[in-house]
């Protein structure tokens, strides 16, 4: 949501106008408190992950990451994200278009339902697919007869991940497109542009940062999901373990630094994308 650069004013930082800001002391105190809070809650755990991961040195770090089970977990994680993120992106754009450009009954309900996976306990997100597709589940006997595995195989992991990351793109786009209104698109239509063209030429450029940001979050969450995936994975080594599950396994084998090494890899990936995105974004807004 920080990706919104629609308002040209917000691209640049606020000019210092003394009557519109606080005294230096107040400012520094506020910054200090904010950073202290962030430090204790977010940064310290992060630092501890990195510190722990290097406790046994570089070699242990590298060998933890090049372990065959770690690599196969990485592969599965990437495959999962590669399926879940595009599907949720298409959904997010479609839903945001319908919700923000049109009026229809039940819109509030729809928006709430889209938010729902945020609020569903990860444990429950996994459980619902077990109840549906598990051998004792509602569709279980049928799937068994046709020899289709969903739970404890890649499809189940992908489904659970899709559920958990379901709202990210839509959530990002809805307020953004709502704020932009429909004038631009209507102008394009009155000038004779057709459906897809309107979207690609008019809407997409307006929402691209929000969209990218939503996708980055969706991807980060897809790669990091633990609870829901843990319920549907079956934990077969080298086969149905994603990176977060692999971390748990290694941790449970008392290889604490190896576990944190794999965790730090996931974390660094996330940080790099997030920081890169925010740097890129400031470049772009300066060009304007």
């Amino acid at each position: 949501m920080a990706g919104i650069v629609t308002n040209p004013r917000s691209g640049k930082s606020q000019p210092a106008r003394p009557h519109l800001t606080e005294s230096r002391a107040v400012r520094y105190t506020l910054i200090g408190i904010a950073l202290l809070f962030l430090g204790l809650i977010v940064i310290l755990p992060m630092v501890s992950v990195i510190a722990e991961s290097f406790r046994k040195g570089w070699e242990a770090y590298v060998s933890a990451l090049s372990d065959p089970d770690a690599l196969s977990a990485l592969k599965l994680t990437l495959i999962t994200a590669a399926i879940a993120v595009p599907l949720n992106t298409i959904f997010g754009v479609a839903a945001a278009w319908a919700i923000t450009k049109f009026k229809f009954r039940g819109k509030n309900l729809l928006v709430t339902l889209i938010d729902l996976p945020f609020a569903v306990s990860p444990v429950v997100s996994g459980l619902i697919y077990v109840l549906l597709f598990g051998a004792q589940g509602f569709l279980g006997p049928w799937l068994d007869k046709h020899d289709i595995n969903i739970i404890f195989a890649t499809p189940g992991i992908v489904l659970a991940t899709m559920f958990v990351t379901f709202p990210f793109v839509a959530r990002e786009l809805i307020p953004l497109m709502e704020a932009q209104g429909v004038q631009d698109e209507e102008a394009a239509v009155s000038l004779g542009a057709r459906g897809w063209r309107v979207f690609f030429k008019v809407t997409l450029p307006n929402i691209k940062w929000g969209l990218l940001y939503g996708m980055i979050l969706c991807n980060a969450r897809a790669m990091g999901e633990f609870g829901a995936v843990s319920v549907v994975s079956g934990h077969i080594r080298g086969e149905t373990n994603t990176l977060p599950l692999h971390i748990e396994i290694v941790y449970n084998e008392y290889q604490f630094s190896a576990a944190f090494a794999v965790a730090s890899l996931l974390m660094l990936l996330a940080i790099i994308t997030l920081v890169a995105k925010s740097v890129l974004e400031s470049r772009m807004s300066q060009e304007h």
């Binding site: 949501m1 920080a2 917000s10 009557h19 519109l20 800001t21 400012r27 506020l30 910054i31 904010a34 950073l35 809070f37 977010v42 310290l44 992060m46 992950v49 599907l87 479609a94 319908a98 450009k101 229809f104 509030n108 309900l109 729809l110 709430t112 889209i114 938010d115 945020f118 609020a119 569903v120 306990s121 990860p122 444990v123 429950v124 459980l127 619902i128 549906l132 489904l159 899709m162 559920f163 209507e186 239509v189 459906g195 309107v198 979207f199 979050l217 980060a220 969450r221 990091g224 633990f226 609870g227 843990s230 977060p244 996931l266 974390m267 996330a270 940080i271 997030l274 925010s278 740097v279």
Partner: protein, 281 residues
């Protein structure tokens, strides 16, 4: 009204986008959730009630709701502060700090739980400082709250930030010209505009906190009646092969979250409309 309708139909794609959204929503979210309700319906009403009114279950609901509420409250205050600092002030490393806000979204919850426990356990970096002061964090409700603060902070910051960024400064300027004190300007002019996003952020953090599992089990201590959260109880029921009971506990949890989200969405629409009409008038 007719005018509006006609205007609506200028743009193409309602049926395709709405149709796809509803279909996808049904396949991924609604049908599986219906399976949950169906499973819990295998219990008779009295069994159902016995399951969810069991003292241990009630205690876990209370714990999950209370810790999630306090965590969301803390996030409300500090989330606003962080958003404010990030939008209004300049300081070195601001971009990095801004990027770090999303980290709790991205970090696997189990890793977050392990890391937080490592730090706040009696022998940890921070825990060893707090221990002599008589403050215990890990394995107490305070620890659970801490983990939920970690999980929830991005929700508040990321909903408040864009609104704060797009906020026009005319009103502030006017207030300042009229001689209003800065603090008064903040509470009378700026804060009212921020209430809807704050509420949304609060509700999202709260709803997420009620169901959170991965990061909490490590730091909570899992003592029945004291530090046992509702999602853990669902797992416990499953381990005893009580699928329908687990589903019943989950359904109640789900209903609480759903009602909460619905309320907030309605509240937000309402306050948006009010705001618009005030500004328009």
């Amino acid at each position: 009204m007719t005018l509006l309708r006609k205007k609506d139909r200028v743009l193409p794609g309602l049926s395709i986008t709405l149709g796809f959204s509803v279909l996808y929503l049904s396949l991924i979210v609604l049908i599986p959730l219906a399976a949950l309700a169906l499973k819990s319906a295998e219990l008779s009403p009295s069994q159902w009630w016995d399951t969810v009114s069991d003292p241990r279950v009630v205690a876990s609901y209370k714990l999950s709701l209370l810790t999630a509420f306090f965590a969301a409250l803390v996030n409300l205050v500090f989330g606003l502060l962080l958003a404010w600092v990030l939008v209004r002030y300049k300081f070195p490393g601001k971009r990095i700090v801004d990027g770090l806000i999303d980290l709790p979204f991205a970090l696997p919850t189990a890793v977050a739980g392990i890391a937080l426990t490592t730090i706040y356990a009696p022998k940890g970096w921070v825990g060893s400082i707090l221990e002599p002061l008589g403050i215990k964090v890990a394995y107490t409700p305070l620890g659970i709250t801490l983990a939920l603060i970690f999980i929830g902070i991005p929700f508040v910051v990321r909903t408040v930030q864009p609104i704060l960024q797009d906020m026009e400064s005319d009103m502030e300027e006017a207030a300042a010209l009229l001689g209003a004190h800065r603090a008064r300007t903040f509470f009378k002019v700026i804060l009212p505009d921020l209430i809807p996003p704050l509420l949304t952020g609060f509700a999202l953090a709260f709803a997420r906190g009620i169901g959170e599992y991965g990061s909490v089990v490590f730091i909570s201590g899992n003592m029945p009646m004291k530090t046992e959260i509702a999602p853990l109880l669902i797992i416990t029921k499953l381990e005893q092969y009580e699928y329908s009971q687990a589903a019943a506990v989950a359904v109640v949890l789900l209903l609480i979250s759903f009602v909460l989200l619905l309320l907030i969405n309605i509240l937000q629409r309402w306050s948006n409309r009010r705001l618009r009409s005030v500004k328009g008038g």
